[in-house]
Symmetry: D2
Subunit: 141 residues, 4 copies
Amino acid sequence: MGESGAAGDPWSFGLEFLVRDYELDIQGIVNNANYQHYFEHARHEFLKARGLDFAAMHAAGVDPVVYRIEVDYKSPLRSGDRFLVRLRVGREGRLKLVFHQEAVKLPSGVLAAAAKVAVAMTRGGRPVPPSDEVVAALLAP
Amino acid sequence: MGESGAAGDPWSFGLEFLVRDYELDIQGIVNNANYQHYFEHARHEFLKARGLDFAAMHAAGVDPVVYRIEVDYKSPLRSGDRFLVRLRVGREGRLKLVFHQEAVKLPSGVLAAAAKVAVAMTRGGRPVPPSDEVVAALLAP
Amino acid sequence: MGESGAAGDPWSFGLEFLVRDYELDIQGIVNNANYQHYFEHARHEFLKARGLDFAAMHAAGVDPVVYRIEVDYKSPLRSGDRFLVRLRVGREGRLKLVFHQEAVKLPSGVLAAAAKVAVAMTRGGRPVPPSDEVVAALLAP
Amino acid sequence: MGESGAAGDPWSFGLEFLVRDYELDIQGIVNNANYQHYFEHARHEFLKARGLDFAAMHAAGVDPVVYRIEVDYKSPLRSGDRFLVRLRVGREGRLKLVFHQEAVKLPSGVLAAAAKVAVAMTRGGRPVPPSDEVVAALLAP
């Protein structure tokens, strides 16, 4: 857990999780929707680690909003599985921040799921460019 | 609710929902992960309407597994919103079924979210082609 | 669905539900926590039916807060089950509203779960007596 | 985290959690139903720490079933809150195991919620007495 720092490591942040049994469905695997929860929680913890805060931004009238998500499910998570959610952020255009995220099983490193999550900052429901402070905080290696 | 039948209607099935307040997050909008729940529930009800049953297939050793999902979030759902989830199914290649799904607000018809969900049938964790019975049931107009 | 009106009917409100497969756990039964979701949704719809609105009250600075819940799980809900959540409200003391709720399977009437939910109105985190308007709306038969 | 061992400590197990923002509702506090998730996850981890396994028991035909829960909500959990869920187990009668559980905020120790959860072992839907092995594992200090 915490930020990764190895030379050449393309990931900016990682957070460990343990599957909770209530996240399993009748097939005995984690229900697909829960991966969005994992990815969201990792993004919010990353924001905090970079000095930003989701709830504080909301209180200040700026809401990061996910407007597109792509998830590839590779190998299902099961009861007892530990996994790491790691991420890095890129910018596309003036308004879009893109989070690249992976959930990998521990200790095997097997890829459970990969996601690409496009986020825009909004104020009053309208997209606004992320502030320089936000961009600097998120895109720093 | 029920299956649509208008001439030229590209949708094979529709199901009405009402936002439940526990689905809202601190921003007062439906949390993104819940759209996957809505889409999944609509797919399972569609299967039932076509004479298939998710739990029965699982008991028979065949599990439909989502292996990729793309969701575009267009206009957030809020407390009290009614919406329709509609879908149609296509086949890509030998193994892949693709569900095209939309959540549209009622009565306005405003698009809340659109999804493309790729599903494979699996037996013992391995993808198997969907049976002729399944294909016929799902791809009928 | 809608409010019940039969003479001698002790229930003030009822709302129909259908089990959604994502609510099932690895045992193939609805996970216990989801009953709280069902009960909460029924309470909020009851409020709306009585002219009150949970989100509007929140915006006005008054938040109904559940401070105690008791649930007896009697017969598990499974995939495909339809059920009715019904409720009535009582007042205990100056601050407390108590919702008596049941989830009963349809059409059998088998009791799936029964709950007693104690609610207080709060303003700024402090309990305040429910307004006369709220009391009149909720306790009317 | 891990099992507690201080002399006179009435708790048999504790597990640390961090609030995840998707668990918050429109009021900005953790939705009540999520406490059941927290309590359940702590019980399952306790079982594992004692050499038992929820999913393995299910596979062996024995399902622990919660048949009554009481939760007192004392002080709401909010974004960023860390908390400990601790528990101890008692036996009542031949069939009933009772988990006493608390969620306390860290580092303050403020009680967020307390629960009493009654569990029975079932086989084929019928309650059966917990095996001596299970009783010994759970009731050991």
